[in-house]
Symmetry: C2
Subunit: 256 residues, 2 copies
Amino acid sequence: MKVASAGLRKVEVIPLAGIPEVEEGADLGKLILSSARKNALDLLDGDVLVVKQKIVSKAEGRLVRLDGVTPGPEAKLLAGEQGKDPKQVELILRESVRVVRAGHGVIITETKHGFVCANSGIDQSNVGKGYVALLPLDPDKSARRIRHTLEGATGKALAVLVTDTFGRPWRIGQTDVAIGCSGIAPLVSYAGKKDKFGYELRVTEPSVVDEIAGAAELALGKLAGMPVAVVRGVGYKPGEGGVRSMIMPSERDLFR
Amino acid sequence: MKVASAGLRKVEVIPLAGIPEVEEGADLGKLILSSARKNALDLLDGDVLVVKQKIVSKAEGRLVRLDGVTPGPEAKLLAGEQGKDPKQVELILRESVRVVRAGHGVIITETKHGFVCANSGIDQSNVGKGYVALLPLDPDKSARRIRHTLEGATGKALAVLVTDTFGRPWRIGQTDVAIGCSGIAPLVSYAGKKDKFGYELRVTEPSVVDEIAGAAELALGKLAGMPVAVVRGVGYKPGEGGVRSMIMPSERDLFR
């Protein structure tokens, strides 16, 4: 198989095997470099490293033992209404600025970061019995820290995403999206660009970070214990706005 | 660059160059086969062909000349409120079952297919001055038709997606999502699967078709005149439910 046309830019998603179980305080940049070496994978200029939120939360000490959580009255009420664990709901409320919707056993909150998602992004998978993982406090900063380690060691211009699995309204199922990024502008702006008929694309701003996050999930899955992928061949723009800059301001938001 | 570990499954997105401008009545399956040949690309079992909605709409005669549209009173009112072309709003209303939100110059509708998106998915890019493209009437069927042509000619087991660019609440920017699919189960079910700690993933159902749609967009972009990509290496399940089966039933929907 080969692609003959020289102009064709293939995008590749390469899962990184061999990342060990991550403990609090782990240096994720170093773990990724070590895993890349073990996989005989040289990082190239423009590579995007996609890092799942769970290992970032673990490295940053964001695991909480449910046993130590005392639910308040609001958590108890909401937990009863939605058939959930009051201790978990207490954490959901603590991590959020408000509840956007609650129903059918689902609690959708706006997190302190401004993400609108189920359960303030808190979940119990891949963390061990009795624990839950909270989102990193500042996922853009988490991505930046990892990028600096990787760029320092390799001398390459790289981008890093921190990704999580979010549901969406109107469609069943979830997709992975970026909750933090560094070294990449999260949106591609086509404002002012014209199609071949001369029509100007005014509102087209693909979220390249969310598309990369989903692409990485295709190669990583949820159970294989592979929390990092390299996405290669995406023609992104460098940038430091972070995912923070992609959050819809509430005055423009039709669904909050 | 090589990935040494045998178990690693790389995902590749290969844009197909050389699809000509599509006219009404075109056989997209044949155009894709011809383009694959020109690119010296042999389709393999499990390949996912991602086809942008615009060429499907063109092939199916879903282009409308705005000049011939007479806006009714509801369209005139809404167009005035949102600063839009009344002819275009008339089409938006005709293609929808209801307006979900309107504000800030944006009209979010529920289409007859059940998609919730801006402008009933109608847009003016890449179709020529004075025209707009409506969504295919039955994008799952469109995908099925293309798949049958491709499978008939190649003898391979393939999947086909028809994709469009949708916005999403709470985040600026858009991602490509699947509006039709064939040969692939749109969701991966992890129900009953356990993580390495024995925790059961109950609600995890990644939308593999939407993640593939976004991955394809990374390689295709909006302006290069490349409306088809091959996504290779995704471990999906065959299925015929279509994107239709992924639409959130209104009784479970917290945002409609």
